[in-house]
Amino acid sequence: MLTTRHDAVVVQGITGKQGSFWTERMREVGTNVVAGVSPGKGGRQAAGVPVYDSVTEAARQHPIEASVLFVPPMAAKSAALDAIAAGVRDIVFLTEHVPYQDVMHVLAEARDAGARVLGPNTAGLVLPGRASLGIMPAFAENIFRPGSIGVVSRSGSLGTLLALNLVTGGYGESVFLGIGGDPILGTTTLDAVRMLDADPRTEAVVLVGEIGGTMEEDAAGYIAGMSKPVVAFIAGRSAPPERRMGHAGAIVSAGKGDGASKVATLREAGVTVLDVPSQVTAALAERGVLPAEVCSGT
């Protein structure tokens, strides 16, 4: 998943308003967008790249490594399956409100094909100074700059806030992985932490979680064995129980997934847990991770 700027990207749903707007933003930061897909609109140009009817068709003309999906929820399953069938290796599944059973079908196909899915309901992936696949403000220099901190976040807006705090404090990011706000995700917190642990550019991990589900707890066992420092912020610790706070996954039920349980489990695994996001730089410094010279992109 840790794409380089040379990796060829296709944008599915490129002729839509958001698809074309964000394709231009992605290209501005150096993302190698080679084609777009919009069924029935093949042969046109959009956001400066040729449009095809399917990823399968686009793949005949271009080598394609990754796909970004700006596709409406009911069309998302067939779009993702098209990308998998065309041999796309990394799929950034931005769409929100995709039926869960459609998602599970896509994830089963992806697993068999060896493809990785980020999302659904994610803000995407940013490799500062190299590429952006999604709807994060990768072009904002006060939020993203090349560095050594790997950020994993369920939420786009909150992930942006943590990234802002990192850059304000003199740090930069090796990668920002938006994993998504849905209960069923292609890349779980555990999967994401494993990727960052294996990533040579990443020196420390900032984990941005939230109440609901048990994904953070499920990652704790692995984190306990990591040598890279992990710092975490869990949103919603002050939320009243049994009230759904926006994200479909963010509900605390039957004593599971509440903030206290997540914080206790993560602390036991050696994670520094923050009370507010602005503490992130002090926590990293305390863990021996200091702001470094800006790294160059590849």
Binding site: Y100, G186, M245
Partner: protein
């Protein structure tokens, strides 16, 4: 979207899973009539979308129509699990020989459907699982292949289920899985799934939750949640918000909060707590909701306890300039006489900050924490 028990049982019957004879009523007199028609002992069950009804005293046994009427009269209008009881289900009490547990749910860990089965039905399955995890059997399902009768029979092979019940039970579990798929359910949980004489299977309860994202493709084929309506704790402002399609929760404090995105909004509330304040509300205006800034702000200010307003935006996909413009329009229209502090970062921040300066003569804070501290100080 959790269905009421009787709505879930309608789906079960339609799929071919047996449920007790009975009817749903909203009047004690009708409960007596139904009880008389059913004969023998009946069960009167409050219809609310909440668990642990038995422990809450919301499931009553009645030996006569008169007792059924009394039970219904006691339950109707009561608040159970946060919901006002508007209907009760009156059912014939079943003669059973055993209680099982069965569920199919979306499993985040295996990223697919998961069948759960236990012979310790009728209990809180979380408790069974905590005490004896091996008493809860798990079968992950490949959603493309589906659940086969053979796989279920294999799961039941060395269980305590009586031999005569195994085949009908396996058939029932396959039927439940079919219902889960057809209805795009997030959860189909039957607890207890009862065994009766001669290997019969009877669903005594039904907890079915449907995927809200999939409802569009089931128009007219699934029950519409009508029953008891919203939570009994829903406030007037929360009802208005629901009708506007906004996520708004009243929290009882004095700092009004306007933020974008679920994660950032929860974080804003956490920060208000951290700096010694108490938030008045959860209100998310990310996504398309920024177009509703005027009604959103009206909701926040509609709470008479609000003494300061905190606007915290961090734009990724959501453009802070667009959201800020909506909020400034709303402020100019509603003219709240309370201090407002802003923290604005991310997509569109330069334009958004300039707008706040020009139109309100207010300087947004550079750090979110400072905006939060100011709002907390102003509210205390």
């Amino acid at each position: 979207m959790q269905l009421l028990e009787y709505e879930g049982k309608q789906l079960l019957s339609r799929a071919g899973v047996r449920t007790p004879d009975g009817a749903t009523v909203s009047d004690p007199g009708e409960a007596a009539t139904i009880a008389a028609a059913l004969g023998n002992q009946v069960v009167v069950k409050a219809q609310v979308p909440a668990g642990k009804r038995g422990k809450a005293g919301a499931v009553r046994f009645a030996d006569s129509p008169g007792e059924a009427r009394d039970a219904a009269a006691e339950l109707l209008g009561r608040v159970v699990g946060g919901f006002t009881v508007g209907e009760v289900l009156v059912e014939r009490a079943a003669a059973i020989t055993g209680e099982l547990y069965a569920a199919i749910l979306n499993d985040p860990a295996s990223k697919g459907p998961l069948l759960l089965f236990s012979t310790e039905g009728g209990m809180d399955i979380e408790e069974v699982n905590a005490r004896n995890p091996e008493r809860v059997r798990r079968l992950p399902v490949d959603i493309r292949a589906g659940l086969s009768q053979a796989a279920v029979e294999n799961l039941l092979a060395d269980s305590e289920v009586p031999a005569a019940a195994r085949e009908p039970l396996a058939e029932t579990l396959v039927t439940l899985y079919g219902l889960y798929r057809e209805a795009d359910a997030e959860l189909v949980e039957i607890n207890p799934l009862a065994l009766t004489e001669n290997g019969g299977i009877l669903a005594l309860d039904a907890k079915i939750a449907l995927d809200p994202g999939a409802l569009a493709r089931h128009q007219g084929t699934l029950p519409r949640r009508s029953g008891t309506g919203p939570a009994a704790t829903e406030t007037g402002l929360e009802r208005q918000a629901r009708e506007l399609g906004l996520q708004f929760i009243e929290l009882g404090g004095s700092v009004g909060v306007l933020s974008n995105g679920a994660g950032l909004t929860m974080t804003t509330l956490d920060a208000v707590h951290h700096y010694g304040g108490s938030p008045a509300n959860f209100l998310e205006i990310g996504g398309d909701a920024y177009t509703k800034a005027v009604p959103a702000l009206r909701l926040v200010l509609g709470n008479p306890n609000v003494r300061s307003l905190l606007v915290n935006f961090c734009g990724a996909f959501a453009r802070t300039d667009v959201m800020t413009e909506g909020v400034l329009d709303a402020i100019e229209e509603l003219r709240p006489g309370i201090p407002i502090s802003f923290s604005i970062h991310g997509t569109g921040e330069a334009e958004a900050i300039a707008m706040v300066r020009d139109r309100l003569r207010v300087e947004p804070y550079e750090h979110m924490d400072d905006a939060v501290r100011a709002a907390v100080a102003a509210a205390s």
